[in-house]
Subunit: 390 residues, 2 copies
């Protein structure tokens, strides 16, 4: 028995762990200090009441054989597919055959590689959400990274090389920027010309505010021929602990693509949780949509506040308009670990060092506006006091 | 973009679909006929009340930020790991580091291949639960099948060849037999001698009655050095729609195996559903264990009744003692499709043709005792009337 040697390439995770351990160690040695995290990627809003009620009803369904639900469809219940297609994909005329309900975009965006040839040339950017690269490694795929440049505002240039698969995350984690129509159309045209597939991670779509940013890639001409779009209920409906996601594979990509993917899915997945699917269905109730809109506005207000204050303090900031995330340049040309240490030790603020998302010597860090407003305000006060004193 | 050509090898699923379609067509053409399925692999008992209550409490936890649970551990909550280790693995001294909570054994038993070299020689039996083979195909692995023989009562012979990975399902789906200590020890010795890993699918462990059949492979000497055991809450706690499973990777297999698998899992899975995990925890309450025992006894009573009646009618029957499944030889040397058609058209009984689980020309079929007693009794009456008339 030989272990999969490719797994030895998974190094970045140690950095996440290193952050966690450093914070834990600091807290242990400084029990009197109040450490606040601006690194949080989880939500700070509980699940809204109409969704809670729907999940209670679903739990009750399971207590009686007359309403019990056992194995569901491998691809999700029709009630949820219908709700998603009618709401998120209204007017796109996708059929239920083209949508899959699943249990998390992390798994979906990497498992989808099973659909494509193992030797496919996969392209992604640096910095990037590390899961695509490391998930691809677990699945014995090889990836190529395109270095993003500050002078281009971290918008990637269209490659001259031919790739088979392109990962895109928009609104982006970690940069926090979203592709506008013009930029996105260039990628679609690239994919068409190169017979490439775009894996479009759109889990932050609810945060999109800019009028020139599409909420779905399918708003753009020809996207249905080249793009698989992934979304989830994690951030808008606070399902980070409940687990429910979905993705679209358009029939237009290739004749048998959905037949083949269904056969694959039968063999690899036994369907998403019934309770989660009933909860997700209730996300689309009019009363839910109102409550969710309020939550999203709160997060975006936090982002707007934090962005403004960081800019006022002289930081270079990207993102935070169509996303809860911001990518920020360190001061004094510090590398991201040094900046992390400074923030933790002197200001008791946790930021995510950029090196988690890109190669060595990152001079950036990620902050998030998903936390509580009062915590974000306190961080801003600490930053002001520190930088105004300097 | 090239699709993964290995997915073209997934042919068996069409047989499942063919069964479903044939049954649907028959029902459509014969709306007055009462078709009963003996093929059912799902449960017929609802979820017990203590588990329902725990899931209601978990739903309420999510409605308030004071008790909200977002992203959990990638490997499961400690409360559930503790409950499993204290109950199912009492006395085995596994640490929480060696257990993983997941969302279904179908995914677990195939995804685990990511831990091992892509060129590992994988061995499984024919007949076998088709997911291992087809899941391995989705993950670009190659498998070798050992043909099981009726004259050996479908117990596989220890291979002379060296394999890296051996799939075992015990109690077995579809055969319905379980390995006894003697047989299992031979496989453990084989694995030790050949540095192989046993992937031991033990999802039907609650059905084990025979005193010479271990409820965990780890009861046997050296199993901790070679075996990964998979279990779930699907059949004992009727979680087929809720999705919660678990598996053990013993540290004894190899020094870094759990460190490596944790790094892999961070990149491929965002944890199991919180509500499901709270429900699963409640499975181990004393009042739950009593109710579950009653359910399992009901299923086993059904199996015992069906087995006895099939034997009385002159069928050759395997399994049904430590399992809800039985593997039955067709009459008159019919192949399994012809027998399926006979049963459907003449007796309005659905059985699962053996060719789903083995190569062509299977002369066997699978029946299950997971259905309702009255339905099973009615099938027996129909079979009696048919065979006694002949």
């Amino acid at each position: 028995m030989k272990l999969n040697s490719r797994l030895n390439e998974l190094a970045r995770d140690d950095i996440f762990l290193k952050v966690t351990n450093k914070v834990a160690e600091y807290k242990k040695n400084n029990p009197d200090k109040k450490v606040i995290s601006l690194g949080i990627g989880d939500v700070s809003k509980p699940i809204i009441q109409p969704v809670i009620s729907a999940m209670h009803r679903a739990v009750d369904d399971l207590s009686d054989m007359k309403t019990f639900k056992g194995y569901g469809s491998y691809y999700g219940y029709d009630f949820l597919k219908d709700a998603i297609l009618k709401n998120d994909y209204k007017g796109f005329s996708f059929s239920k055959d083209e949508i899959y309900i699943s249990n998390g975009t992390k798994t979906d965006t990497t498992s989808i590689l099973e659909l494509f040839d193992i030797d496919s040339k996969i392209c992604l950017t640096d910095p990037m959400y590390p899961i695509y690269k490391d998930g691809a490694t677990c699945l014995n795929r090889r990836i190529v990274e395109i270095k993003l440049k500050e002078e281009n505002d971290f918008v990637p240039e269209i490659p001259k090389e031919k790739y088979d698969i392109v990962y895109m995350c928009s609104p982006s984690n970690p940069i926090g920027i979203a592709y506008n129509r013009l930029e996105l159309q260039k990628w679609i045209d690239y994919a068409l010309a190169n017979e490439a597939i775009i894996l479009f991670d759109n889990v932050y779509s609810s945060f999109i505010q800019s009028s020139d940013v599409p909420t779905s890639i399918y708003e753009l001409p020809n996207a249905k021929k080249v793009a698989i779009e992934f979304r989830s209920f994690s951030k808008n409906a606070s399902f980070t602990g409940v687990r429910c996601s979905y993705y679209i594979i358009p029939n237009e990509i290739s004749k048998n693509i959905n037949r083949i993917w269904k056969e694959r899915t039968i063999n690899r997945f036994n369907g998403a949780d019934y309770i989660a699917q009933r909860g997700a269905e209730a996300v689309y109730l009019p009363e839910s949509q109102k409550l969710i809109q309020t939550n999203i506005e709160d997060y975006l207000d936090n982002a707007s506040f934090l962005r403004r204050e960081l800019l006022n303090l002289g930081f270079k900031v990207w993102g935070g308009i169509d996303s809860p995330f911001m990518w920020v340049k360190t001061t004094e040309n510090m590398d991201s670990w040094n900046f992390f240490n400074l923030m933790l030790n002197d200001l008791n603020i946790v930021v995510i060092p950029g090196c988690i998302f890109e190669g060595n010597n990152s001079k950036y860090f990620r902050v998030s506006a998903l936390g509580f407003r009062k915590d974000i305000e306190e961080c801003v006060e600490r930053l002001k006091a520190y930088y105004e004193k300097k």
